[in-house]
Symmetry: C2
Subunit: 449 residues, 2 copies
């Protein structure tokens, strides 16, 4: 049974998985309401650490769009104790990796190091999160770096196509639909005060979730974490509960503007670029992260476009040679979600490829999926999960996502059981919903011929 | 001491690392001259397998350019025993990963699966390599897929920029300088006979190198491999030596056309594209894969542009905010090699960025590097190697590269010892050579303003 990651006092220490032959997973609420989740794995000599804040671009006002991402950049630019070069050197000189990601609903700072260097990694990342200098001149330099980053994304047809697809499906000019990094205009206009206000409002003990996986001791890490946060000047009173930010009640299909309908009724948004290929995103809104249908969605996505044996790959690439890349995808947020298909092909083939993609969903609605496909999909998901979780970074991400997005802990075996419970009829029913849920097509490529 | 991977009868079985507390690495020459190298790692529940052929685009005639890559694609299209869907399904249904890479000097087919599925992975990959159908109609469909792949690479400014950089440094219209996948023209003209000839000439027991890392038993795998190759119809007489393809004598700087000189003297090749950023590759020829200077090159690259604390990153991104991405790189082949720097920035900044990149090499030539930088670089290389080798796929690749490129086995510790022996003076001397070795600059972006 999934374990509720509740916040009452009795839940201060939770043994989420007992260790022994299987994983050892623990969760502790530290003073100040800081949450720590770890998985100890003594078969590796390294650890991956993540510091998560449940704050993303959806928490921005339109005028401050891009401030979450700008803040993430500024945290690397120096603290009371460390220059930007010190921060860069700390990970580089031990051969570690560190980076950060800003998303719509969260920001995470992470690092991977050999186990002996875990205290160092913790010290640097906590220093950044508690004691960033946020110097005005650092913002001026970093603004230019961010504008280069936006220009790079703009030049990439898959980046800009997917960003536009998200905007159209989730609602242009809404908190969810706006681009994560802001725009040339909003980033150019960002002030020091915007970034500082964002930091003051959100970078607080009750918001912080720390997840770590690898060759580590939970109690030792908990002690060091409390010590480093206190050293960074954070007030950490006993008995404070973490801030709650649980998934909203399930909404089946959020209203995003366009009226959902069949794939053939969708009017393409065109981003004109003189490219050899047209990049196509086709899809619409769908289930949110807490929906019980997410297991069905995983199975459907595996069958539709999840691998070389999937329907999209076989019918559009292998049989017809129309594309090099084709796949399906889904994404889920607290109260919104989406599904889609992607393909890239030479422009003259775009309409044929779009027709074939739409037809695959309708085919699944009308005729369902075979038992053989169900068996293969389950094998694929099971094996891929086992292989994926050999990597400590994937497991660190899984812990963060269970805590921040699901609000409940479930073991990998429990997730697989849910997947095994999905029936062919469930997949067909979901396909029927998706077949009528198309709202958006984005083409990035030359003018339609 | 590195172990010579010689081919005489006495070397039929070599224990390359003894196991115990450290890695267990073995090499066996099977009947027919097939080579098998494995590392057994019982801490994981998976294995990565690679089948290598020492054949790449440099082995093609100009008229058949792209045939190595086309053959790689065709091997997935069916064998005597399996359809294309069977091959796709075999890996998908166990959640495994499989793919192939064609390069200038080798082709590799690889897969990663849970350990229980290793016999299956071996069966599928050996079937592909021995018994491909190479049906003419498969070539017709796959030709279209390859043309889409070329169009995709063409649209990517870093792919097309790097390809042009390689061509210019290694010599346009030479076997090494030609693009790996061929061109629109050569791929369109490829015939069934070209691809079959390539297969017949190169896919032979004496050329095959199999490397595998993970939860496996060397002797069991050796037995299965011999069995599967025989089942595929390969003739495997005892006592045959592997084909030799050892690195040529070291050449310091291959003549590639343009006269080497300082960075400032290089005339840019321009690929005009209406992009927000200009992507710049700047560099020239350098040491080949067997050169003893490769350890010095690794240290130099770490200091120049290998991480967030490197000179290029600090001076061009952190201090001046001119770029989002900047780094240095090197590549080495049997008898050629190259070094370079990459940056992307808005077009008006391109000349300033190029000047700064060139100045960094000259700075290193004129003033050398600090002891602190030497210490950091060694820490970075050591840590990154330890972290990188936690992944069975990296180690599988390392075994293949030692066998095919170096022709000698050395342990990770031996490689690190070599690196530790590099002095600041070595780095400065190499910087002095590089500072006078620039031949090529490729800009992908809008017309120069």
């Amino acid at each position: 049974m999934p374990i509720d990651l509740t916040t009452d006092a009795a839940a201060r220490d939770q043994l989420l998985e007992p260790g022994g032959d299987g994983p050892l997973v623990r969760r502790t609420i530290l003073p100040g309401g800081v949450r720590l989740l770890t998985e100890t794995d003594r078969s590796v000599r390294s650890a991956t650490l993540g510091l998560w804040l449940p704050v993303g671009s959806r928490d921005e006002t339109p005028a401050h769009a891009g401030s979450t991402h700008a803040l993430e950049h500024l945290l690397f630019k120096g603290t009371a104790r460390r220059s930007a070069l010190d921060i860069a050197t700390a990970f580089d000189e031990v051969g570690g990796e560190s980076n950060a990601v800003t998303a719509k609903e969260h920001t995470v700072y992470h690092g991977r190091v050999r186990s002996a260097d875990l205290p160092l990694a913790l010290d640097v990342l906590t220093d950044m999160v508690t004691s960033s200098q946020l110097a005005p001149e650092a913002l001026e330099t970093e603004r230019e770096v961010i504008l280069e980053e936006l220009a790079m994304a703009q030049d990439d047809p898959t980046d800009s196509g997917y960003e536009e697809f998200l905007a159209q499906v989730l609602g242009p000019d809404t908190p969810m639909g706006r681009p994560v990094g802001g725009t040339l205009e909003t980033v150019s206009a960002l002030t020091d005060a915007d970034v500082r206000a964002h930091f003051a409002a959100h970078y607080r003990p009750q918001n912080l979730v720390v997840t770590a996986v690898g060759d580590l001791d939970h109690d030792e890490l908990a002690g060091r974490l409390a010590d480093r946060l206190a050293a960074g000047g954070w007030d950490l009173p006993e008995g404070v509960a973490p801030s709650e930010r649980r998934p909203a009640l399930e909404r089946s299909l959020p209203a995003a503007g366009a009226t959902p309908g069949p794939a053939s009724a969708v009017v393409p948004h065109r981003i004109v670029r003189p490219l050899e290929q047209t990049h196509i995103y086709l899809g619409g809104p769908s289930i949110c992260a807490s929906s019980e249908d997410r297991h069905t969605m995983n199975v459907l996505m595996a069958i539709l476009g999840g691998g070389m044996s999937s329907r999209l790959f076989q019918h559009i690439r292998e049989e017809r040679g129309l594309v090099y890349t084709v796949y399906s995808f889904s994404a889920a947020y607290r109260d919104a979600g989406l599904f889609g298909m992607y393909a890239a092909c030479r422009p003259a083939r775009a309409e044929q490829v779009v027709e074939l993609m739409g037809a695959e969903i309708e085919q699944m609605r009308d005729h369902g999926v075979t038992d053989e496909e169900m068996r293969r999909a389950l094998g694929q998901i099971t094996g891929a999960l086992a292989l994926g979780l050999e990597d400590t970074a994937s497991r660190m991400g899984r812990l963060g996502s269970l805590e921040l997005v699901q609000g409940r802990y479930s073991t990998v075996d429990e997730a697989l059981e849910k997947m095994a419970g999905v029936t062919a009829q469930d997949v067909r029913d979901l396909a029927a919903r998706l077949a009528g849920s198309f709202t958006t097509r984005v083409d990035v490529g030359p003018e339609a011929g």
